[in-house]
Amino acid sequence: MSSHSTVSLKDQVLNGIIKENTIFKLALSLCPSIAVTNSLKNGIFMGGAVLFVQVMVNTTISLMRNVIHPKVRLPIFMLVISGWVTVTQMLMAALAPEVNAKVGLYIALIVAFASILARAEMFASKNSLLPSMADGLGMGIGFLFALTTISFFRELVGKGSLTVPTGLATDHVFTFINTKPVLLMILPAGGFFAVGILMAGFNWINARAAAKAAAKTAPAAH
C-alpha cells in the first residue's frame, strides 16, 4: 500500500468521506449512529467528538510509528485511543455538560470503535504525518457527515423540528411541522429504519454513479 504516498491530500480526505464512509459503506461503528441521532444537535456533537479522536489518534500514531515495536503495537494503539477518548470525554463534560449527559456513555465507547483502530493499524502506522492527518480528517468528516444526515432525517420526520447548535451550550430549535409528526422515527426502532433507508439510498446513488461511469468508459474501450 505504498501507493498511498502518491495520493494527494485532498483525495485522501475525500476517500474517507465517500469511498470508505465508515457508516454507509463499511458498516462499522454503528452503535452511535442510532443511539445518539434522535436530535441533530446530539448527532453533530457525537460526530465532532469522533472527528477529534480520529485526527488526534492518527497524528499521535503517525508520529510514534518508528518507535512502536510491531509486536506490542495493538495494546499501544488501544492505549493511545483510550487516552484521547478520556480527553474528549473530559472536554465534553466541561464544555457541554448537557449534551454529555445524553451521549456520555457512547463517547466513552469510541474506544471500541473498529474504524479508529483500523485506521491506526492500516494507515497511520505506515504513513507520515500529513497524509495520516488528512486520512483522519476524511474519516472523521465522513462519520460526522453520516451522523448529521441520519439525525437530520430522524429529527425532521420524528419531531418536525431541527435543533441546531449555535454554541457549545446553546441551541436554536426550528419547527417545521406543527401537526403530529411520525413519532416512530425518534423511537429506538426508528433509528434502525432510518439507517436502513439511508444506507439503501447511498447504495442506489453509488450504483447509478457506477453505471454512468461504466457507460462513459465503455465506448472509449472500443
Binding site: 458498516a27 462499522l28 461503528s29 454503528l30 452503535c31 452511535p32 442510532i34 443511539a35 495494546p75 488501544m78 492505549l79 483510550s82 487516552g83 477518548v85 478520556t86 470525554q89 473530559m90 456513555l105 466513552a108 465507547l109 474506544v111 471500541a112 473498529a114 483502530l117 416512530l184 423511537l187 429506538p188 426502532a189 426508528g190 433509528g191 434502525f192 429504519f193 439507517v195 436502513g196 433507508i197 444506507m199 439503501a200 439510498g201 447504495n203 442506489w204 450504483a207
Partner: protein, 197 residues
Amino acid sequence: MGHDFTKLFELIVSASLINNFVFTRFLGLCIFFGVSKKMETAVGMSITFISVMMISAAVSWVIFNLVLVPLEITFLQIIVFIGVIAGLVQVSDTIMRKVSPGLYYKLGIYLALISTNCIILAVPLINAEEKYTFIQSLAFGLGSGLGFALALIIMASIREKLELADVPAPFKGLPMAFVITGLIALAFTGFSGLITL
C-alpha cells in the same frame, strides 16, 4: 433475603428484555450484524459472549472498587477497563487452547472478535456508574449477555429465511437487516413497563 433475590431477578429481566442492549441501547451492533448470518455462528458467539461478559463484569468490579476508587483515579476507568478486557480475552484464549482444543477450534474466532465489542466495555462502565454491588454487577452481566444472545438468535433465524426472499437491489444485505432489526426493536418496546425498578 427473598427481597434481594426478587431485585436480582428484576435486574436480569430488565437488562435482557426491557433495556436489551441491541434493541434499546444500540450497542454491539457491528458484531450483531456481523455474526447473525448463520444460526451456528450465532449460537457459538452467544455462549462465548455470556461467559466473557460475566467474568469481565466480576473482574472489573473488583478492580474498580478495590483499586480505582480508593486511589481516587476513577477518571482512568476507560483505559483500565479496556486493558482488563483485552487481557482477559487473551488469558481465556490461551487457557481454552490448552485445556479444550476442540472448544477452541469452535469458539476461538469469536473470542478474538469480542475484545472489540462495545457491549463488553459498556457493562463495566454502567456497573461503575450505577454503583452496583458485586452480586448485582454479576446479575447485570448475565442479563445483558442473555439479552444479546436472544437478539442474535432471533436475528439469525430471520436472516436464514431472508436468503430466499426477493429484496429490492439497493436494500440487499445490510440495509434490509437494519429494517428487520427496526421491526424487532419495535416489538421489544412492548416490554417497557414490564417491571419498574
